[in-house]
């Protein structure tokens, strides 16, 4: 018997900006800004945006209803056409990844885990407020199965049916019908009608953003590079949640600065810096681990084939007839035909795209990231590796997840890969010279 009594220790509430979760974003953002030289001035807008949203937890405002998306296959133009705002929910935080682990098997996609962890949290960062609807395309298995979990958390979830086969006309029609059904659902949600004017305005808004991105993308062709990949990923990641008109203006301003850099012969890297094409599971802030390791080691990510950047903004809608039904069908085609996601049965388009990107951007090698548990990217590695092997293009395959504990080992591998690329280049030049 003792005279001690137990007591309940109350939970200490910490302001978000001092939490470990904010610290994760803080560290990455500080690293992106401070540990590299000559950041473009126009990037300040994006640095400030991520500082306020991810480090200070400031509110992200939107117009009309909020429709969350969990995949780039959700046609955002349609959402805009109904006067709502789309926001991509795919999350890159290790903090949320750990929180989401209870919902999913131990070896499974960090991205889906993090998204579930975020949606299940009391304090959702970015602070977008509760979506009026979440549209969840049935693309990959793990995304598909997360649908009912999101429903159980109290969200209104719409399953957008997406085909597994690209090449068949049946799939094309299935997808067109699926998109039209989605339009019907949006009409019920918003209480508005889909008009040609509304759709055209939406096409213009997104078209302008895509054009700004493509111009930005074209500046990466230059050698030596005038801008680093870490900044491009930050710009495209901002597209997930930033106001689209403001985002477009800021990218256009960045393009103006890059044009000036180009005219002045500015170099962001040394002429021998290895040029890398990045492909695979998408880097989403704050998980820019792999692209940052590449650029810390002296490489430069000159292009990417990932859905958090290039694949999200590159393709345009080609409209045949400017009538609502035809416009919606053309929109559906834009989402299906150029898609190089590994969820399809065949991946000829992806291989073709990758080889083309290596050629146009004069890449010295490829880094292929697969999140542990992402079976589709893991499985496509084999055929992509063979295609690159035949073309004589070096590739490094990295299987990793959101946890920061493998940075040391990964940096060794990346350095070895860059060293090998540099050597190859030297040998080729000597042979040619």
């Amino acid at each position: 018997m003792t005279n001690e009594t137990s007591k309940v220790i109350p939970i200490q509430s910490i302001p978000y900006s001092r939490s470990r979760q904010a610290g994760e974003s803080q560290d990455v953002l500080d690293h992106i800004i401070d540990d590299f030289h000559d950041n473009p001035e126009s990037m300040q807008y994006f640095y400030d945006l991520f500082r306020s949203v991810y480090c200070h937890g400031e509110e992200v405002k939107h117009e009309g209803m909020l429709v969350g998306t969990t995949c780039i296959q959700a046609p955002e133009e349609l959402i805009y056409a109904f006067g709502a705002t789309p926001m991509r929910l795919c999350n890159g935080s290790y903090h949320y990844d750990q929180k989401g682990a209870e919902f999913m098997p131990s070896k499974s996609c960090s991205l889906v885990k993090a998204t579930l962890g975020m949606l299940n949290s009391d304090n959702v960062i970015p602070k977008i407020g509760k979506p009026d609807m979440i549209v969840n395309p049935t693309t990959c298995d793990q995304k598909k199965k997360s649908s009912s979990m999101m429903g159980d958390m109290g969200y209104k979830v719409y399953d957008l049916e997406f085909p597994n086969v690209k090449e068949s006309e049946a799939s094309r029609q299935y997808w067109q019908r699926s998109v039209r059904q989605f339009a019907t659902e949006l009409r019920q949600l918003t209480g508005r009608k889909l008009t040609k004017k509304g759709l055209q305005a939406a096409f213009n808004k997104t078209g302008r953003a895509q054009a700004a991105f493509r111009k930005l993308h074209s500046y990466r062709l230059l050698s030596p590079s005038i801008i680093l990949g870490k900044d491009i990923f930050l710009v495209t990641n901002a597209y997930f949640f930033d106001d689209i008109t403001r985002w477009t203006e800021k990218v256009e301003a960045l393009n103006v600065e890059l044009e000036a850099r180009k005219q002045a012969g500015f170099k962001a890297v040394q002429s021998k810096a290895p040029r890398v094409l990045f492909t695979g599971s998408p880097p989403i802030f704050p998980n820019l681990k792999l692209p940052l390791l590449i650029e810390e080691a002296g490489g430069v990510v000159v292009a990417d084939e990932s859905c958090s950047a290039n694949r999200m903004l590159y393709d345009m809608t080609a409209v045949d007839e400017w009538m609502v039904n035809d416009m919606v069908d053309s929109l559906a085609d834009k989402y299906l035909k150029p898609c190089t996601c590994p969820i399809f049965t065949k991946n000829e388009d992806r291989k073709r795209r990758l080889l083309d990107l290596v050629k146009s951007f004069n890449a010295d090698g490829v880094v292929y990231q697969a999140f542990s548990g992402c079976q589709v990217y893991e499985m496509e590695y084999r055929s992509v590796a063979e295609a690159f092997n035949q073309a004589g293009i070096p590739m490094l395959y990295v299987e990793t997840d959101y946890s920061p504990d493998d940075k040391g080992q990964l940096s060794t591998r990346i350095e070895a890969f860059l060293e090998s690329m540099k050597n190859r280049k030297k040998q080729k030049q000597r042979a040619a010279g």
């Binding site: 070096p394 493998d406 040391g408 080992q409 060794t412 591998r413 350095e415 070895a416 060293e419 090998s420 050597n423 190859r424 040998q427």
Partner: protein, 271 residues
């Protein structure tokens, strides 16, 4: 006479190599890493220089490699241990008609490297996620069997029965397995042989990921263990090229690179 040095700052041991202008080895030195990497690296370098009767100024270029390569500020440059190992093995392999596959088992990791006929790294695979199949496994085994690390090799050949199957893939869990086998009356020799085969088969699986081509070069501290070498040869089904000082191949590669870089810089200055 100009000299060039390579220092491999590993997690377990620091290895230093010095080569002359022709790229031939002048001397090597191996010491424990300890926790003060920079201090111990400097000491290791000075110890070797003293042994060779050289001064620090005689070393015209110094390259650091290994786990602690960026921490050693005394070096002129740093390079990944994969590239350094490839260069070292390529040079050493010339005497045997050329080496194309390199297997390295270190203190905490293991790697397989494929090189082309100019010594350039074509492909590589690393086991750097856990200590299974690394020097650490041998450490743990020796401790549990109450032996010195150096005794494991000779015990391997004392086994009069087939090597035991060690099922645990985890080094830490394998401890319990070893203790259990001893308690069940199994002899040290067949347990040790079993451990060697366990490491060997895991290593061969790793090497298959990059493709195995003759000749195969095996280095890293554990390559001093003749029993492990025998097990690896058996699992591979091929002969192995083992250097005289397997721990220092990587440091040697860094030294050769230091020499090459210096020579290249000199000739570009002349132009």
């Amino acid at each position: 006479m100009n000299y060039f040095a390579g220092i491999d700052v590993g997690s377990t041991a620091i290895k230093v190599a010095v080569v002359n202008e022709a790229g031939d080895i002048a001397g090597v030195h191996v010491t424990a890493s300890g926790s003060l990497f920079h201090k111990n690296s400097l000491e290791a370098l000075n110890t070797l220089l003293d042994k060779l009767g050289l001064k620090r100024e005689d070393v015209r270029y110094l390259i650091a490699t290994g786990y602690g390569r960026k921490l050693f500020k005394e070096a002129d440059d740093s390079i990944s241990e994969i590239t350094a190992n490839a260069i070292g093995a390529f040079e050493a392999g010339k005497a045997f008609g050329g080496v194309r596959t390199i297997i390295n088992i270190g203190g905490q990791d293991s790697k397989a490297i494929q090189i082309d006929d100019t010594g350039n790294v074509v492909n590589f695979a690393m086991n750097d996620k856990c200590a299974a199949g690394t020097g650490r496994f041998l450490d743990v085994a020796a401790r549990n069997l109450d032996l010195d690390l150096e005794e494991l090799g000779e015990y391997h050949f004392k086994s009069e029965v087939a090597p035991l199957n060690i099922n645990s893939t985890c080094t830490v869990f394998a401890e319990s397995e070893i203790i259990g086998l001893l308690a069940n009356g199994h002899g040290k020799a067949e347990i040790i042989a079993g451990i060697h085969y366990s490491i060997a088969s895991r290593t061969v699986r790793l090497a298959k990921r990059v493709g195995i081509e003759d000749r195969v070069y095996f280095d890293g501290g554990p390559a001093l263990n003749k029993g492990l070498v025998a097990a690896l040869q058996d699992e591979l089904g091929r002969e192995l090229v083992i250097p005289e000082h397997p721990q220092t191949t990587t440091a040697f590669g860094a030294a050769v690179l230091a020499r090459n870089e210096f020579v290249a810089e000199q000739s570009s200055e002349k132009v």
